[in-house]
Amino acid sequence: MSRYIPFFIISVLLISLVIANLLFGAISLSLHDVLRGFQPGSDSYFTIHEYRLPRTLLAILVGAMLALAGALVQGVIRNPLASPDILGVSHGAGLAAVVYMIYFPHSSISWLPAVALAGGLCAALILWWLCGHRSSTIKLAITGVALATFYASTVDFLMLIKPLEINNALLWLTGSLWGRSWPQITMLLPWLVLIPCALYLAKPLNLLHLGEDSAVSLGARVNLLRLIALAVAVALTAAAVSICGPISFLGLVAPHLARKLFGGRHQALLPATMLVGAVLLLMADLVARTIDPPIELPAGIMTAVLGAPYFLWLLIRTK
């Protein structure tokens, strides 16, 4: 029974954060206003229904997706420092986005998510092409890191020779929920199919955790499992990043926090990670919007500022 207590707590936290996200912002609304905001034609209809509600939902979705991807990657690579970032997906998406912004400045900005998504998926394909499916997970991780470094330096190079585009690109590269609304949520919805897939992988991932030898002897097809888990992680990351830009540390911190609260069994860990990820991103966005209104900070900055010190503390303590 005690296993459900943390679940309960974190769900309550999630719900109260959702309510807080609807209540507070550049302008605080009363609960009454918030409720009326769901009816078309009321004064706060735009603020609630068109602005805060989609943004809150998006924070939940993106947070959950990135965190889930992180848990999958850590489950496969079996290294606490691994995260979706080391597959080079978010950097690949960033590179594609920056190339698009710099070389097609006049084309519509609404294509940006598609371009970023393509970039992220291409980066994953390149990684797979370089490593093949037979190489060890560590080699995969380090190659991914090297590729990510390459994409990052290309991004820096492009931004330096075309300095005019910097601000737009930098804002996108930090990760932000600003200006995202219902259309972006609709774009994310198809990818939610991956979440049950990931949860289905929980049991085999547990076996993998016992060490590869025992996993083989237990009959799990290790290579196939790893490939599927990473592919799901890549798709989740690419989809989330294509909408909001790379939100740093979510994929790294959320699984750690979840593991601390719920233990390492993937059946509990994977759903818990999603909850934790959603909570973290909601919190970050709430802080980013309310810390100095009407200034909006990118949520990616807040996740870095809040997540990074915690992550360090965690790493040093668990050593």
Partner: protein, 312 residues
């Protein structure tokens, strides 16, 4: 503090919105106004009263015909709005940064017209339209001529076409008067300096356009001109303009450091003391009718230092 301020604003906005519904019909025009903006045709059939602008140049255009915006994306720093504009318009509400304005603050102001910048706000154009009709025009990285065109469009949309045309004609006269006081064809280069970088605004930039309009010449800064470019001392030496106008964003800026170097005296402008320090905010951020006039004034001060007391 900011929260209470915003909420009182909200309530006043709410009460005004209630009354504005009634007065809306009084504002309705017989014939709707149609203009071309950066997204195609923009039509409006009433005279907007509550306008939110998301760039300084739009605030400048409104102020030029005596209209006050209720909200400005002023980066939460009122001093960034041109002093001349500040003098004309009534107190406004900040709606956040120009790059990421707070949409809920804008919505709370209940605007009936939003003027946005195509380069910064295209991504939220759909959302802005849900709040109020949105006129989207070029501002960031526009040229001087485009800025005047945008002002003319704004004049039409707010129902002050005649006043705006008159103001633009007056602007041309003022600029011509400044031009008369300035020598023809002298090469003037403007740049903004930060801690460790100098950005020159080339002939394609807004400042470059104003300099040309005043009968001065732009420095030749080399091929593939972009509107502003980072420059090293070496390149500055090869550009070697007659007059150098510097806006320092920080102190000490890189130009302050360069001044101490022996090579600085090789610059024509340094040798003849033809370096003017101006407000970088006015010269590079504000853009607009009054900003251009202020720039002309600054230049006249530079060329006739004894005639007028130094600005600021």
């Amino acid at each position: 503090m900011a929260l209470t301020c915003a909420s009182t604003l909200l309530f006043s906005a709410l009460s005004q919105a209630a009354s504005s519904h009634g007065s809306h019909s009084a504002n309705t025009l017989d014939k709707p106004i149609t203009v071309q903006d950066s997204k195609g045709t923009f039509t409006i059939d009433y005279r907007p009263k509550r306008i939110v602008v998301l760039e300084f140049s739009f605030a400048d255009a409104l102020a030029s015909v005596g209209v006050s915006p209720i909200g400005i994306a002023d980066d939460k720093d009122p001093s960034r709005v041109l002093p001349a504009v500040r003098k004309i318009i009534k107190p406004w509400t900040s709606v956040g940064t120009r790059s990421q304005p707070s949409l809920e603050t804008i919505a709370a102001l209940k605007p009936d017209l939003i003027i946005a910048d195509i380069s910064r706000h295209e991504g939220v154009y759909a959302d802005l339209q849900k709040i109020a009709p949105t006129l989207i025009l070029p501002s960031r990285r526009e040229t001087y001529q485009d800025s005047l065109k945008a002002a003319a469009i704004i004049g039409k949309v707010i129902g002050k076409n005649k006043e705006m045309q008159a103001r633009l004609a007056k602007h041309q006269k003022i600029m011509a008067a400044y031009a008369k006081q300035l020598p023809k064809g002298v090469v003037v280069q403007f740049g903004v300096a930060r801690d460790d970088t100098l950005f020159l605004h080339t002939a394609d930039s807004y400042a470059g356009g104003v300099i040309r309009a005043l009968g001065l010449a732009n420095a030749h800064t080399g091929k593939n001109d972009s509107a502003s470019r980072q420059t090293s001392l070496e390149q500055l030496l090869s550009i070697n303009p007659d007059y150098l106008i510097i806006g320092n964003y920080t102190h000490p800026s890189i130009v302050d450091k360069w001044e101490k170097e022996p090579l600085w005296s090789v610059l024509k402008a340094a040798r003849e003391h033809h370096i003017l320090y101006v407000n970088p905010n006015v010269w590079s951020r504000c853009r607009g009718i009054m900003a251009a006039e202020r720039m002309g004034q600054d230049l006249v001060n530079l060329f006739h230092p004894n005639q007028i007391a130094p600005q600021q």
